[in-house]
Symmetry: C2
Subunit: 379 residues, 2 copies
Amino acid sequence: MHRFYQNFTLGVLGGGQLGRMLVQSAIDFNLDVNIIDPDENAPCKNLVSKFRVGKLTDYQSVYEFGQACDVLTIEIENVNTDALKQLQKEGKKVFPQPEVIELIQDKRKQKQFYLDRGIPTADFILTENRQAVLENRNFLPAVNKLGKEGYDGRGVQILKNESDLEKAFDAPGLLEKLIDFEKEISVIVARNENGEMKAFPPVELVFNPIHNLVEYLTAPADISSEVASQADAIARKVINELDMTGLLAVEMFVTREGNILVNEVAPRTHNSGHQTIEANITSQFEQHLRAILNMPLGDTSMKIPSAMVNLLGEDGHTGLAQYEGLEKVLGIKGVHVHLYGKKLTKPFRKMGHVTIVDQHTESLKEKVKFVKENLKVIA
Amino acid sequence: MHRFYQNFTLGVLGGGQLGRMLVQSAIDFNLDVNIIDPDENAPCKNLVSKFRVGKLTDYQSVYEFGQACDVLTIEIENVNTDALKQLQKEGKKVFPQPEVIELIQDKRKQKQFYLDRGIPTADFILTENRQAVLENRNFLPAVNKLGKEGYDGRGVQILKNESDLEKAFDAPGLLEKLIDFEKEISVIVARNENGEMKAFPPVELVFNPIHNLVEYLTAPADISSEVASQADAIARKVINELDMTGLLAVEMFVTREGNILVNEVAPRTHNSGHQTIEANITSQFEQHLRAILNMPLGDTSMKIPSAMVNLLGEDGHTGLAQYEGLEKVLGIKGVHVHLYGKKLTKPFRKMGHVTIVDQHTESLKEKVKFVKENLKVIA
């Protein structure tokens, strides 16, 4: 275990909502946190001893930032890994490891990795450009993904039939068989430097069909114990095969036949683990810190069933954020609001989330509906 | 409800551990927090947009600090209430109200208030000086309390018999009948501007007999439902009689006959509510914010039984704090460590606390023992 509580600095690349919730957790460990983010008004701006404005994809700015840190971590994958490798060479700890980040930055490499390591995933074809997609039209219906720079629903689109082909990405990407899945689930698994491993129980994700963003989730997922333990085993296999230290979110499809396919992974805290703050013995943020500082990992079990609703900027509203209906939802038992501290809202921007805890599944679902109908981010 | 999430500043007098945990909670509401504290290295130093060094008992420094704030609150009672009254006159909201703070600053007024309002409390005699204590020696065994400036176990002592009389306080104070209580419990109750009121379930406090500091607590308290509902009713009566907005911690004795006597109250977040962060639907810190910002109050029920162990500086150790045994206790299921970010330790200084959650009372108690035996703050 690192002596993290004195003369020790944790550097985080990215100062958005994930960094913000990580800082809330880091306070409990008396961690000195430094953050770099390109946005001078990033959500973490006022919450840490040192906040630096800089591009995460720029070698020099990441390298200079890392100099003052003992351990470095990320809240977004799109960072300069060459700088992280150099820092690692100079003795800094970097978790997740730069090699893991690189692999995951590129969805093509990610898919190939699953195939090579026997991790179940949907069939796919690598495509170099639009022409390659056109040549593989017999693979449709398929999901067309950009290899790099996809994030928060961008760089992913469905090509149902030939009439969709015109929008095919004209850059290195892939075509993935469209899976007729029954559910999407996620398992977040942690692994520390000692190799200790712990996974959170699977949660069930409901995506907004248009924007490919998580609309809400429920925990635990409504799946059989067989599917749950299979999902758990797959998540562990992925983090082990990656030989990764840190936290890994593994999003999976459960097919109508009850098989599991890995969809995508994120080597960091993740939207599908926000409910752990209120609902589990250890939150994903504390678990991430425990993993990268080589502390014993925390108990992941649930204290209470929960749901999490993402709070996205209302369509048609751009400007200073106002939270309509906040008082109403705060009046509901078990509601906990997380606002991310973003001054400006725009359509579908992630502005916050709402966690709801409740012993009863039925009332949980009613409350999800109430929150979605009543709480709006407008300008 | 105040539109607290934009162009709004909450000012907190005091930047210690209570302010620190309040800030962690305030982040979720996107609250801009300003803090004033006399210590330039106070635990809140790096966590807020504006941290000001200044004396809390000084009129000018409190008054100037308050100018930039919309709502003011406290994390310690020993503040300049004249400045708060002036700020209130100028339109600032101050919760708890300055009049309540004044009443509670003076244990003599506090006791008289209980008597006047029919709130059960131990018999007492007001004493102006040591001579007055001597004249009331037939009241022994008694607790001798200073009227003002007692805090964290200071200004309170037991006078068992005449040989203890020499240490009697030579300042305005009181003598309180020593109660042969069975348990000490605490109920934290909140009240918002609308008058909505919610109380947390009673917790059971175990004090360090030498330093008069909470050593650990367990939640729920092991008391009958009759005693629990009596304690709940008394806490509600106190906050109502005070006509107070905010959070009030009511410490009570349960006598061997099953009667309840109010010992002391604190008009703020309190050591006896730290476990609510992990163990209750709403934490005391979120509840305090809801109360003073006139939001609907949160559900106070327990998610899981818990215990809280205070982490005090080890006797004989002064200097840079080291946390011996941290790895061991983090290896125990359900343990959550809160370090307060104090660089220097000294004997019995509150350096942090440990919350333990566990479904089973027996294993909770074993874990309390383990934490107390294994985790030490040394220099």
